[in-house]
Structure formats: structure tokens, C-alpha cells
């Protein structure tokens, strides 16, 4: 318990924020993708974070082994499709154009994605510094052994 649990919690946040950054960069990369395997333009993805609350049952599992995530950590529960309608642009020369000459583009605002990406990078940095704080505390507690 204690110090190593702190690292597990921070690690869960690092994982979640990295996954969020991955989804955001995928959105940015596909901002102009008009054709996908499922047909139609690329659909913007959004992540859903949720906190892991410590139920007594889960904490018993935690003590037995690492089956359940640490209470207090965060995890990415779902990657959702953005329900926003695609943006129609008039491009009659495009092979993807419909009968009226319009092409469906994903409703992605690069500025919004960049801000989201910056947010996840900052949160990642914050949790990385929390990891080094935990590490330093563990190092200090090891110092008790070095008395003499």
C-alpha cells in the first residue's frame, strides 16, 4: 500500500492522457478524410474518462493481486463518436462528391483539437511530476535503512 499505490494512480493517469492524445492526433490526422471502410467521412472521436471509486470488494481484490485498478485512479472507459453532422463542401470534381456535387467532410476543428492536445500534454506532465515526487518519497524512506 501507500507509496507504490501513488505511482499506480499516476501511471493510470499517464495511460489515460496518452490515449486521449492518441485519439486527438487521430482526429487531427483525419481532419480531411472523406472515405473510410465503413463508408462516408471519418467521424470525430471523443474520449470519456471516469474515476475508479474504491468499493470494498475491489479493495479486497487489490490486496489479493493486481486484478482491479487502484481506487482513486482514472481510466478511459469509452471512445465515443461525435454525433455532429459532416460538413458539406461543394467540390463537383471530387470523386467522392454526391449527386449535387457536395463532398462530406468530417466536422473537425483543428484549433479545438490542438487545444485538447495541449490539455492532455499538460496533464501528462503534471502526472509525470507526481510520479517523480512519489519516487523521491520512496527513496527517502529507503534512507531510514542507512542510519549509522
Amino acid at each position: 500500500m501507500g507509496l507504490f499505490d501513488m505511482m499506480a494512480i499516476s501511471a493510470s493517469a499517464l495511460t489515460a492522457e496518452r490515449q486521449r492524445a492518441e485519439v486527438t492526433t487521430a482526429n487531427l490526422a483525419n481532419a480531411e478524410t472523406t472515405h473510410t471502410d465503413s463508408g462516408g467521412p471519418y467521424v470525430r472521436k471523443e474520449v470519456v474518462f471516469s474515476a475508479v471509486t474504491g468499493s470494498p470488494f475491489r479493495s479486497v481484490f487489490n490486496r489479493l493481486g493486481r486484478f482491479a485498478p487502484q481506487p482513486g485512479s482514472v481510466r478511459l472507459t469509452e471512445v465515443m463518436d461525435d454525433p455532429a453532422a459532416p460538413v458539406m463542401r461543394y467540390e463537383p470534381g471530387n470523386p467522392e462528391a454526391n449527386g449535387n456535387g457536395y463532398v462530406a467532410y468530417p466536422a473537425i476543428n483543428p484549433t479545438e483539437e490542438m487545444v485538447d492536445l495541449m490539455g492532455s500534454v499538460r496533464a501528462y506532465q503534471l502526472n509525470a511530476s507526481a510520479v517523480s515526487a512519489s519516487k523521491q518519497m520512496i527513496q527517502e524512506s529507503l534512507d531510514i535503512l542507512k542510519t549509522s
Binding site: G2, M6, F49, A133, S134, T147
Partner: protein
């Protein structure tokens, strides 16, 4: 396990700081979780109770949600500055506890060495 009463108190102090640090780290982890409310130990109250000797010098802090923090639009009220400040504060408190424990053992060692 600790025979020295001061060592026992210090152990409780280290445990309380660890527990608090865990809550701070967990608040930091959930900085982007919608609807999450920051949690903290009621450290001062626990310390006062321990000083009063009601619980026999035992630190038994209570986990509670922090009141009075402004909520963001997504219902999350984690304040990044508050948490970063508390992170370093608790880290130093832990360091203090470790140094005091070391001092206790140092004294014990001195007593052993000077006995012959």
C-alpha cells in the same frame, strides 16, 4: 511494532502524509474526469485530536471532499495550483517525518555504542 512511543507517533504521521499524498495524486490523475470532486484528508483536525490525546496519540484522519472549490463547466473542481502546492508540501512533511525517524534510530544507536 515500535516500542518507542515517539516512534509510534512518527509512524502514524508518515502513514497520514502518505495517505494524503495518495489523495493528492489521485486528484491530479482525475484532473480531466467530468464530475470529479477533489478529496483531501482533514489533517489539521486529526493532528489536533492526536495532540489532545483523546485517541491515545493516534493519527486517524478522515477522507472528505474539499469544500468551496470553484467547479468547472464539466462538474470537476480540481484546482491544479492547490494540488501542486500540496504535493510539494506533503513531500516535505514526509521528508521531515523520515528525518525524525532517522534521528530516533540514531539516538538508539548512540545508546548502544556508548554502553560498553
Amino acid at each position: 511494532m515500535a516500542t518507542n512511543p515517539l516512534l509510534q507517533v512518527l509512524e502514524g504521521y508518515l502513514q497520514a502524509t502518505t495517505e494524503r499524498q495518495q489523495l493528492i495524486v489521485s486528484n491530479m490523475a482525475n484532473i480531466d474526469t467530468p464530475g470529479y470532486h477533489a478529496r483531501d484528508l482533514n489533517f489539521e483536525q486529526a493532528l489536533q485530536r492526536a495532540e489532545g490525546g483523546a485517541d491515545g496519540m493516534q493519527l486517524s484522519p478522515v477522507v472528505q471532499e474539499v469544500q468551496g472549490l470553484p467547479e468547472r463547466a464539466d462538474g470537476n473542481d480540481v484546482n491544479i495550483d492547490r494540488e501542486s502546492m500540496l504535493l510539494s508540501e506533503t513531500q516535505i512533511q514526509y521528508q521531515l517525518g523520515v528525518q525524525l525517524v532517522k534521528g530516533q534510530f540514531q539516538q538508539l544507536l548512540t545508546a548502544i555504542k556508548d554502553s560498553n
